[in-house]
């Protein structure tokens, strides 16, 4: 099960008891707060446990009832149903992570490839600052520029005579997609820039000499060479966006549950309203299984192609 081929060559001199003792503090943390929660989610999803109220302390087993309610064909696709939230999450991930972060990051990395001027510095610095600032700070910055009367977006649209929609009311999902693309494209851009820097410049020079256009070089040379980086990047940004809670800071899932992605849906189910831990855990279990599937597929790919994750 070695992940890296050079594993066996690193000589080992710590005796097993010593190394076990050194591993212990970290292992305890991971077991208590990562592994146990994974198992506990599955267990709670089979009960009627609540945060407060009659079923907080004296809960009972309910089998697969919570799942039956999630997947009830009569309600699951209607507003507030599990399928409704799942579909919103899929839209959010495809538009903001795949098209937004990964594609924008790749476009920026490629168009700025080989440049060293002030333009590259400016784009990189702005994108990185957008990426590292705390969630709450950038969420409020976006609430400000999305403001219906005074926000920068509508001031610009008004000056062009294009109307001034109330973004977070009429186009809340679109606003979240733009926000998340803005927030996270820097990671993809940095990853693809590093991968591009690893391509021998002679490859591209040969292509230029033989008369390939910029688009042809990108499609026939860069895309195949970056395959590993693209898979790694897609995998990470999909996982992060699928699990993020940040949309809550902008919309709280509203208006009328039109942006209630799975993380917010779980929160509303378990920590508000009916305080239903059992059903919330069933939602989390589905998310965990999707995460697990993505992780396993990716690790299989990494081991097959001997990539460094």
């Amino acid at each position: 099960m070695t992940l890296y081929p050079d594993e066996a060559r690193v000589r080992t001199w710590l005796r097993p008891p010593t190394s076990a003792a050194m591993l212990l503090p970290g292992l305890l943390l991971v077991l208590t707060f990562l592994v146990l929660p994974f198992i506990w989610t599955l267990v709670i999803s089979l009960t009627n446990q609540q945060m407060l109220g009659p079923h907080a302390a004296s809960w009972s087993w309910v089998g697969l009832d919570n799942y039956a309610r999630l997947f009830d064909p009569a309600t699951w696709l209607s507003r507030g149903g599990f399928g409704w939230s799942l579909w919103l999450t899929v839209q959010f991930v495809l538009c903001s992570a795949v098209l937004g972060q990964a594609a924008l990051g790749l476009a920026l990395a490629w168009t700025l490839y080989g440049q060293h001027g002030v333009v590259r510095e400016a784009v990189f610095s702005l994108a990185i600052v957008a990426w590292i600032l705390p969630d709450t700070v950038v969420a409020f910055a976006w609430l400000a520029i999305l403001h219906p009367d005074q926000g920068a977006i509508n001031v610009a649209l008004g000056a062009l005579g294009l109307g001034q929609p109330d973004w977070l009311y009429h186009h809340a999902m679109l606003a979240l997609v733009l926000f998340n693309a803005w927030r996270g494209a820097a990671f993809s851009m940095l990853l693809f820039s590093a991968a591009l820097a690893g391509i021998p410049p002679s490859y591209l020079e040969v292509a230029t000499v033989t008369g390939a256009s910029g688009w042809q070089k990108f499609r026939d040379l860069v895309l195949p060479l970056l395959q590993g980086a693209i898979i790694t990047d897609l995998m990470l940004v999909i996982l992060w966006t699928f699990n993020t809670f940040t949309p809550f800071l902008l919309t709280g899932g509203g208006p009328s549950q039109t942006t209630e992605v799975l993380s917010i849906y779980t929160y509303h189910t378990a920590f508000e309203g009916s305080l239903d831990f059992g059903r919330g855990a069933a939602i989390s279990t589905v998310v965990l299984l999707v995460n697990l599937l993505l992780g396993l597929v990716f690790l299989a790919y990494v081991r097959r192609h001997r990539l460094h994750p």
Partner: protein, 275 residues
């Protein structure tokens, strides 16, 4: 610049301009509004600039406490726990004869990809309640440490594989204990890595909203992220004033640390994953 045609270069210029405007607009609001006497959701040049908005922030009951005590306490605590337990684990995993080491590594990557904070909100709440960690800063520190530990361990492991073994062997011959070798020989050799990973952990913990939002219920314990979020319901001028001034103070340490790391070490490790 790719296509030599005029059209290609014009398209490139338009694309880059749009990207710069897209990125700069929200950041301009963050930067300018706190100094504007008429702070509002619109972006205005503060002429003349004023510090009155910051005075308003410090008149809020828990603002200073969250910025100067609660958030630093959580971020520093998480950084210490992750660096110590992560360095020990990474050292054991690179130098130790551990049966099933490959399996442990594989499991660590997988579990950290699968279990994020939000997906585990219910069991984390239940486990914290069982361990009497609900409403406690220690609980927030331990849970955040666990979430950040696997990637930090992997980064530290990369730095450790670059340490020449001869140094350790010399120290062992001189009679040093394994812990002594790690502390006195290896740690100084990877201080660069400890610094970069430490900054990454600190910045992540500093910006964290979700875990304290779920676990903490007393305003006196709230970190800056929660206090800032609590200003959202205020109206009109107050909204922009407090949010922008508090937000800038809260964001400042992150920007300073970023500048420090990128000046000294370059930025390429900062995402927690190597490119």
């Amino acid at each position: 610049m790719k296509g030599s045609s005029l059209v290609g270069r014009a398209a490139w210029a338009v694309f880059i301009t749009l990207v710069v405007v897209f990125y700069a607009t929200p950041l301009l609001w963050v930067l300018l509004t706190p100094f504007n006497l008429n702070a509002s959701p619109s972006i205005g040049v503060p002429l003349p600039p004023t510090l009155a908005n910051f005075r308003l922030v410090f008149a809020e009951p828990y603002a200073a406490r969250s910025l100067f005590w609660n958030s630093p306490l959580i971020a520093t605590g998480v950084t210490l726990v992750v660096l110590v337990s992560g360095a020990l684990a990474a050292y054991a995993l690179t130098r130790g004869a551990i049966p099933g080491r490959g399996l442990i590594l594989y499991g660590l990557i997988l579990i950290s990809a699968v279990v994020s904070g939000p997906v585990a909100m219910i069991p984390l709440y239940v486990i914290a309640a069982d361990l009497n960690l609900l409403g406690s800063t220690l609980g927030v520190i331990l849970i955040l440490s666990a979430l950040l530990l696997p990637p930090a361990t992997f980064l530290l492991r990369d730095f450790l594989t670059g340490v020449p073994r001869s140094c350790e062997e010399a120290a062992l011959l001189a009679g040093a204990s394994p812990l002594g070798v790690l502390r006195d020989v290896v740690a100084p050799l990877i201080r660069h890595g400890l610094m970069v990973v430490g900054v990454w952990v600190f910045v992540s913990a500093w910006g964290e909203f979700f875990v304290p939002f779920i676990l903490l219920r007393a305003a006196a314990l709230y970190p800056a992220s929660i206090i800032l979020y609590s200003y959202r319901d205020q109206e009109g001028k107050l909204w922009a004033t407090r949010i922008s001034a508090f937000g800038l103070l809260y964001a400042l340490p992150v920007v300073i640390l970023y500048l420090f790391v990128s000046r000294r070490y370059g930025f390429r490790f900062f995402g927690g994953y190597r490119g």
